[in-house]
């Protein structure tokens, strides 16, 4: 369940980063169409919310929130690194 929570947070942040014009342009090319942007944002926030649910299931009410915040940090860092080095690694 902890792993599920981490993966959900990772997916959520990745979707949210793609919804941002700068990162969309770097990875996919061009600004995101408004509809896709909205969908990415919704999906991103939904994944983060589900990550919270998974954390609560894994650790219980009091520790779940703490753990979720920790996972958010742990998930945002690889997304940041990916957004930094992935576009550069591509031809």
């Amino acid at each position: 369940m902890t792993l599920a929570a981490l993966l959900l947070c990772l997916a959520g942040f990745f979707a949210l980063s793609l919804a941002m014009p700068r990162h969309h342009a770097a990875l996919i090319g061009g600004p995101p169409p408004p509809r896709r942007r909205l969908l990415l944002k919704l999906a991103g926030w939904l994944c983060l919310a589900l990550g919270l649910v998974a954390s609560l299931l894994a650790w219980g009410l009091a520790w779940g929130v703490v753990g979720w915040l920790g996972l958010l940090t742990a998930a945002a860092a690889p997304v940041l690194l990916a957004q930094t080095w992935w576009p550069r690694a591509r031809p």
Binding site: L16, M20, L69, G70, T73, A74, L80, L81, Q83
Partner: protein, 541 residues
């Protein structure tokens, strides 16, 4: 920032100035606090690593029985026995006793205390503070009276809180730049890195700083207590009451079975664990067994106690945290220290702590990176610039090296050296002093490379030494299933590799060109490159 002061500063500019100077003034101490705090999440594991003689405890009951057998043999008529039990993370138990008219020594080693190994037998581990050395350094500092240390740490923590709030206000594009890191752009990269380390772990930074102040709130804000209690002693007497010792009846009676008592305590706490056993008037009809709950059991750091009849083993009374104020405070202390944290969460705490350490380090380096271009004569920087630059080397690279020296001293100092535990700590501070000095006498670039390489070498060589010279190396630990020991060695290797990457990064960096290399894995990043252009420097820092 050091130039002319504009006539009217905007709100954000004023916050930027506040952020820069609150951060800089106490930055080096904050780095020490953050680094040692992060490391202290492994306090028990480091102590175990530092005392490889003890081994891993698998069955607490065996240890408790062994401790009582020892105490029966050496002090059957003592007024009190105490046994601190190990948890899954700690090594052995400590058993000690007090006799009438002989109080515990106020400081130094308790001659009555022995360590009980996993098999219930007495073991003599090497004299070391282990993880406690870093833990105490985190809030007491060293070589200053404890109360001074705590005031200094509290003062710096308050600055940290100001720096966090003003930093968030100063950050222009906290959401737009959320996933942004632009390497190879000099000052820009340092700012990006500083921002990312701060923003991504912001919940942790804010929580840890605030709860850190709460842990010592009675010291820092004494007036609530002063207004409501006649004296501090009276306050502590009410808030941290101790079960009063019993008077022996003089009539002998056999002690209740400790295994049954521990099981009964576990039931009463819904599966909680005993952390401390105190036995008053052992082998007397009036004997009492007081069992205190493990601190790592619950989020709320507080006193859970069950008093048992020492002969029948029946529960006499129970104490649990009840006052909502104490629970709120206990919850915050528990959150700060992470004593409750399961393993995954402990890693998250540790990594967030390292992120905080790196945040402070990048902030300190950024101060230099921003000002380097502004220097009137780059060959002869002004005093403040030189001071900060040199202190950065001896602290950011030097302190981790000194902490590694502590671990080396733990392995190398002769076992029979008088005051061995103290000398481990002295070795750490002597090393740090030398490295601070080294930072001032070497050219900065060489200083960074040499100190980062030294840190990397010391960390990487430790696990190798453990395999070669001690019987508790990585291979032996893995074979015997001693995970904590193995993971500690592996973590030292990973940290060593990170410092090696930083040293290589600085060595390959060409100061003339604005092309910085930045070690990806590095928790702390090396020296700043010269930057071609500075834009909007008033606002961002």
């Amino acid at each position: 920032m050091s130039g002319k002061i504009p006539k009217a500063l905007g709100f954000r500019q004023s916050q930027a100035g506040l952020h820069t100077w609150t951060g800089l003034l106490v930055g080096w101490i904050l780095y020490l606090i953050f680094l040692n705090g992060a490391v202290s999440y492994w306090r028990e594991e480091i102590t175990r690593w530092a005392q490889p003689e003890i081994g891993v405890t698998r069955d607490v009951e065996t240890v408790a029985r062994g401790a009582i057998a020892h105490l029966q043999a050496v002090a059957p008529k003592a007024t009190t026995w105490s046994i601190s039990l190990p948890d899954e993370r700690a090594g052995g138990a400590t058993a000690t006793f007090r006799e009438k008219g002989r109080p515990a020594p106020r400081r130094g080693v308790d001659p009555n205390a022995v360590t009980i190994g996993p098999d219930g037998q007495v073991v003599t581990p090497r004299d070391t503070e282990g993880g406690d050395a870093f833990y105490r350094l985190h809030f007491d500092l060293r070589y200053v009276p404890v109360i001074w240390g705590r005031w200094i740490v509290g003062f710096c923590t308050m600055f940290m809180l100001v720096a966090i709030v003003s930093g968030v206000i100063t950050h222009k594009k906290i959401f737009a730049d959320f996933f942004t890191f632009r390497p190879g752009k000099g000052q820009r990269s340092w700012l990006d890195g500083h921002n990312a380390l701060a923003v991504l772990a912001l919940p942790f930074h804010a929580m840890i700083t605030y709860t850190g102040l709460i842990t010592l709130m009675v010291l820092y804000v004494p007036w609530g207590v002063a207004a409501n209690y006649p004296s501090k002693t009276a306050y502590y007497a009410q808030s941290i009451t101790r079960t009063k010792p019993v008077k022996p009846s003089g009539e002998a009676a056999p002690l209740a079975d400790i295994g049954a008592v521990l099981k009964s305590a576990e039931r009463a706490w819904d599966g909680g664990h005993a952390g401390l056993i105190r036995i008053d008037a052992p082998n007397d009809k009036a004997a009492r067994i007081i069992v205190t709950r493990r601190a790592s059991d619950t989020l709320v750091d507080g006193r859970w106690e069950i008093v048992f009849d020492g002969v029948t083993g029946q529960i006499r009374s129970q104490v649990a945290p009840t006052s909502s104020g104490m629970i709120a405070r206990g919850g915050m202390v528990g959150l700060h220290a992470g004593r409750f944290a399961p393993m995954t969460m402990r890693w998250l705490f540790f990594l967030s702590g390292l992120a905080g350490t790196a945040m402070v380090a990048t902030g300190l380096v950024l101060w230099i990176a921003k000002r380097r271009q502004k220097l009137a004569d780059p060959a002869r920087p002004h005093f403040g610039f030189r001071l900060v630059e040199r202190l950065n080397i001896g602290t950011i690279a030097g302190l981790p090296a000194a902490m590694a020296v502590f671990l080396w001293a733990n392995r190398l100092l002769p076992l029979n050296l008088a005051g061995r535990g103290d000398w481990e700590v002295h070795a750490m501070f002597i090393a740090w002093g030398v490295l601070l000095l080294h930072g001032f006498v070497r050219p900065p670039r060489r200083g960074w490379i040499e100190q980062l390489s030294l840190t990397a070498g010391l960390l990487l060589a430790l696990p190798v030494f453990n395999i070669a010279a001690a019987q508790h190396g990585l291979v032996a630990s893995l074979r015997s299933g001693d995970t904590a020991m193995a993971v500690m060695d592996l973590t030292l290797l990973a940290l060593g590799a990170a410092f090696a990457a930083m040293a290589v990064g600085v060595a390959h960096h060409k100061p003339a060109q604005p092309k910085a290399r930045r070690a990806k894995t590095a928790p702390v990043t090396p020296k700043a490159p010269a930057t071609p252009a500075r834009k909007a420097e008033e606002v961002e820092a």
